[in-house]
């Protein structure tokens, strides 16, 4: 067995009395990948933050190559060769890709304080090539998509030749192609003898990458071992602490004739062309596509956030004015956006306030506009409880302090409370655990059961095939295929998603 590079012993961390990590003993070995799994809020990120010097443990010690390791801050961590890709993107949108990559130590012009721009650009190009991101190093990060930004984050750790690299859910905004690239990178690092921690809720990925597995539950290490001894069902049961029969609930038998959401001939130059789309009452329509296919843009137009040149949208026969989210909501439309941090949450506000936000007018008295707090909080806590959001108090704990997965649940809860006729969800299961995923699917299912229509955007084909009645494939701003459940077939759907781009490379 390879030599121990890093070890935790008896690490404990509590947030205001809530024990988040208690007594973690764990070892990392150079040249090996440790898959760290656990439900949302299990403490994975917290553990990594302790290691990365972001948080200080209450008890316990860490050793690096046998020597005691006590980081005063992130700087110390990177100084001692620990690279850290945070769960939330950590880029400076007002700087360029190159600058972001080298923000920690810029290449200098000799002894001068000036940045050696050419060297920086060249290094950056190599790295971008490594991770297969086709963009100039001088592109401002604000112009990149989350996916592309994630790649930049990865390039960042590659730049610092770290000996330990922590990946906290790096694939949440990557799609198949980039994930492949990432895995390739990780394998190369591993070959170089780097020790790696890989955190993800996509267990198949974990299996594919890891040598060892460690399972966290409620801040305790409940199981460790070699990957061979961890078939996915065992991972799940030890994460959740009980046996879970299936990963996907069967889609409800509730599809009705009436089309509840109808999109006709929607077009916007450069974004989408002649989109026809219908979601029936009780139906779950999956929308698949590669990153940048234009799904988000399309739904943003449908929902009324972006303008469109031609076409129209109707809900239950009533046309939407377009360009007016408020009207869309009144019309019965709901939209769970793909990045919860910027577009979803009021980070500093309590969970209940966040959940109440959309439905608020329904709890205000006419004229006076006075809010009926009791009813509001009852409803909000009710929803939070249904979604099994894990928090000390729904009324006081701020969304900021929630784990990634629980934050996502808050965003969904916010829309459920508005009782929508049609729910558009953009990548709703990004970064949430199997248990939570199953809950989300069930929630969507129940909603459909109750007669709502659901448009489910995802870059994970499995889940779409698992829960959708029908899958439409989007590609370059056009809908290039539609498959009934009976005709679901991985290869054909993928082919549709890739087709034009391959044509292009041919042409």
């Amino acid at each position: 067995m390879t030599n121990t590079l890093f070890s935790f012993s008896g690490i404990c961390k509590a947030f205001f009395g809530v024990q988040v990590l208690d007594g973690i003993d764990l070892e990392l070995h150079s040249g090996r990948v440790l898959g760290l799994i656990g439900e949302n809020g299990a403490g994975k990120s917290t553990l990594m933050n302790v290691m990365g010097g972001v948080l200080r443990p209450e008890r316990g010690t860490m050793r690096m190559e046998g020597r005691l390791y006590e980081p005063k801050g992130p700087a110390d961590a990177s100084a001692s060769g620990i690279g850290f890709i945070h769960q939330e993107l950590n880029l400076f949108t007002n700087l360029t890709i190159a600058e972001n990559i080298f923000i920690e130590d810029f290449p200098r012009l000799g002894w001068l304080p000036f940045i050696h721009h050419r060297r920086m650009a060249d290094r950056a190009r190599e790295l971008l090539a490594d991770i297969g991101l086709a963009a100039s190093p001088w592109t401002p990060v604000e112009r990149l998509s989350p996916g592309e930004r994630q790649l930049v984050e990865i390039a960042k750790v590659l730049a610092s030749d770290a000996r330990i690299i922590l990946f906290d859910e790096p694939t949440t905004s990557l799609t198949a192609k980039e994930t492949a690239v990432l895995f390739d990178v990780i394998r190369r690092l591993k070959a170089r003898g780097v020790a790696i921690v890989y955190i993800s809720h996509i267990l198949s990925d974990v299996v594919a990458l890891s040598d060892d597995i460690a399972v966290l539950r409620d801040g305790a290490l409940v199981a460790t071992g070699r990957v061979e001894d961890f078939p996915i069902p065992r991972m799940i049961s030890s994460m959740v602490g009980r046996d879970v029969k299936s990963i996907f609930p069967p889609p409800p038998q509730s599809v009705r004739e009436a089309a509840i959401l109808e999109v006709r001939g929607l077009s916007q130059p450069g974004v989408a062309r002649n989109i026809d789309l219908a979601v029936h009452s009780g139906e779950i329509v999956g929308m698949f596509g590669l990153m940048g296919a234009g799904r988000t843009e399309l739904v943003r137009m449908i929902y009324g956030l972006d303008p469109y040149a031609e076409g129209g949208v109707t809900i239950a026969g009533k046309p939407l004015p377009g360009g007016d989210p408020a009207a869309s909501i009144v019309g019965g439309l709901a939209f769970v956006t793909e990045n919860r941090r910027e577009e979803g949450l009021l980070m500093s506000m309590p969970i209940a306030e966040n959940i109440g936000l959309v439905a608020l007018p329904g709890y205000a008295r006419p004229y006076s506009g006075i809010i009926d707090q009791k009813r509001l909080y009852d409803a909000a806590t009710g929803i939070a409880t249904d979604l099994r959001i894990k928090a000390a108090s729904y009324l006081r704990q701020s969304a900021k302090s929630l784990s990634g997965g629980n934050q996502q649940k808050v965003v969904i809860g916010k829309w459920l409370m508005a009782r929508p006729k049609v729910l558009i969800v953009d990548e709703p299961t990004r970064g949430i655990d199997v248990g939570a995923k199953f809950e989300v699917y069930t929630i969507l299912g129940n909603l459909a059961e109750a007669g709502s229509g659901i448009l489910f955007i995802s870059s994970e084909l499995e889940e779409l095939m698992g829960v959708a009645h029908r899958i439409v494939v989007m590609n370059r701003g056009e809908i290039v295929g539609s498959f009934q459940r009976s005709e679901f077939d991985r290869e054909r759907i993928m082919a549709a998603a890739f087709r034009q781009s391959t044509e292009e490379t041919a042409a």
Binding site: F16, E343, L346, P350, E353, L357, R396, Q397, S401
Partner: protein, 380 residues
């Protein structure tokens, strides 16, 4: 585990009917955002009333040095200085919560006081005003348009409010619809409208306002001075608007995350515009009190006051970054500033010491406030 969790939550929720109100307050209490379960009430209390305690402590310290500080006369002075400033600062709070700032309030005060005076003034001296651009239109030797009418002052005040609202509307639209930076927009309208305020009467103060108007600041109802009544009315209305209504909730939401708010169907533009209108209206009411007290319309009214207005807000914890603020805080902040000014007047320091002492006291207050916050964090 999960079930316990939820039980505990709903439990604390049921037992905590009264904590509910706190829960809402808590949204913006902590400077550093953190969860507190045990020490919540204490912490809330601390952060809510700290500046008030501070002021009281300050008064107690001063008691022996300046006994007449608490003479009926002086106390009533302190209060009469407080009401107008309070009303204006409350308006500012609304804008600050949206992560904006309104530097134009002072110009609104000047402009409305001038126009109001021009409308209701009795007889004026042609020597002074014949050069005014509105001479013969708004203003003649027989006084303003409304002069003579018994209720002229009411119409005048209505007109003042209308003008204030227009200025606010202008600021709001520029900021919310055209996405212009609030600071520069309101700075410009400050230049612009105070210039107009000086231009209309060609620099002259307008005296000879009707009795009914000047008595607004001096008169009282059942022994309660009108300014106090007005301030309380505005304060209570603002407090309810912010803490209890749909509008208030949405205002905070916008201050914290405009994008998320817009996506959640909040009519962000309308709400922000309204905030600027409210700010300008409050400035106008302040102008009514000041000008009735000075018994004149002044083209330079409020010239120096911007710093006090925003300072009072910020010292009390209203954040320039938005999303954070409460009327009670503003009240305490204003009280602190007025008290400070008044005590400096009474202390009879030589003129070259006053500013130094004033600075020192503000600094001390801010320091204590920070220390208190740190303590509150640790105590968790």
């Amino acid at each position: 585990m999960e079930t316990q969790e939820t039980n505990q939550v709903s439990g604390s929720y049921r037992t905590g009917g009264n904590r509910l109100s706190h829960a809402f307050g808590r949204m913006f209490l902590p400077r550093r955002d953190t969860i507190s379960i045990g020490s919540l009430a204490k912490n809330a209390l601390l952060s809510e009333y700290f500046v008030l305690y501070l002021s009281i402590a300050y008064m107690i310290v001063l008691w022996p040095i300046i006994p007449w500080m608490f003479g009926a006369q002086n106390v009533s002075d302190i209060l009469s200085n407080m009401w107008p400033l309070l009303i204006i600062a409350i308006g500012q709070t609304f804008v600050l919560i949206t992560a904006g700032i309104d530097l134009s309030q002072t110009s609104v005060m000047a402009l409305t006081s001038v126009v109001g005076a021009m409308l209701m003034v009795g007889h004026v001296d042609p020597l002074l005003f014949s050069k005014s651009p509105v001479w013969g239109i708004l203003l003649t030797e027989e006084g303003g348009l409304l002069s003579g009418y018994s209720l002229s002052f009411i119409f005048a005040i209505v007109a003042m409010l209308a003008i204030g609202a227009l200025v606010g509307l202008f600021n709001g639209i520029a900021v919310a619809v055209f996405r212009m930076p609030a600071f520069i927009v309101t700075l410009v309208s400050m230049m612009f409208f105070s210039a107009i305020a000086v231009y209309l009467p060609k620099s002259e103060n307008i005296q000879g306002l009707p009795e009914a108007y000047t008595s607004i600041s001096s008169g009282s109802l059942l022994g309660i001075p009108y300014p106090l009544l007005l301030a309380v009315a505005v304060g209570v209305a603002a407090h309810i608007l912010l803490s209890r209504t749909l509008y208030g909730r949405r205002l905070y939401a916008i201050g914290i995350n405009p994008t998320a708010s817009a996506i959640s169907g909040i009519p962000t533009k309308r709400i922000v515009v309204l905030a600027y209108v409210i700010s300008a209206l409050c400035a106008t009411l302040g102008a009514v009190l000041y000008s009735s007290r000075l018994e004149m319309g002044r083209p330079t009214l409020g010239d120096m006051q911007f710093i006090d207005i925003v300072g009072a807000n910020v010292i009390a914890g209203v954040s320039l970054a938005g999303g954070k603020g409460k009327i009670t805080w503003t009240l305490f902040g204003v009280f602190f500033f007025v008290l400070l000014a008044n005590s400096l007047n009474l202390l009879n320091l030589p003129f070259y010491m006053i500013d130094i002492v004033k600075g020192a006291v503000i600094l001390a207050a801010a320091l204590l406030d920070v220390a208190r916050n740190r303590a509150a964090i640790q105590s968790r």
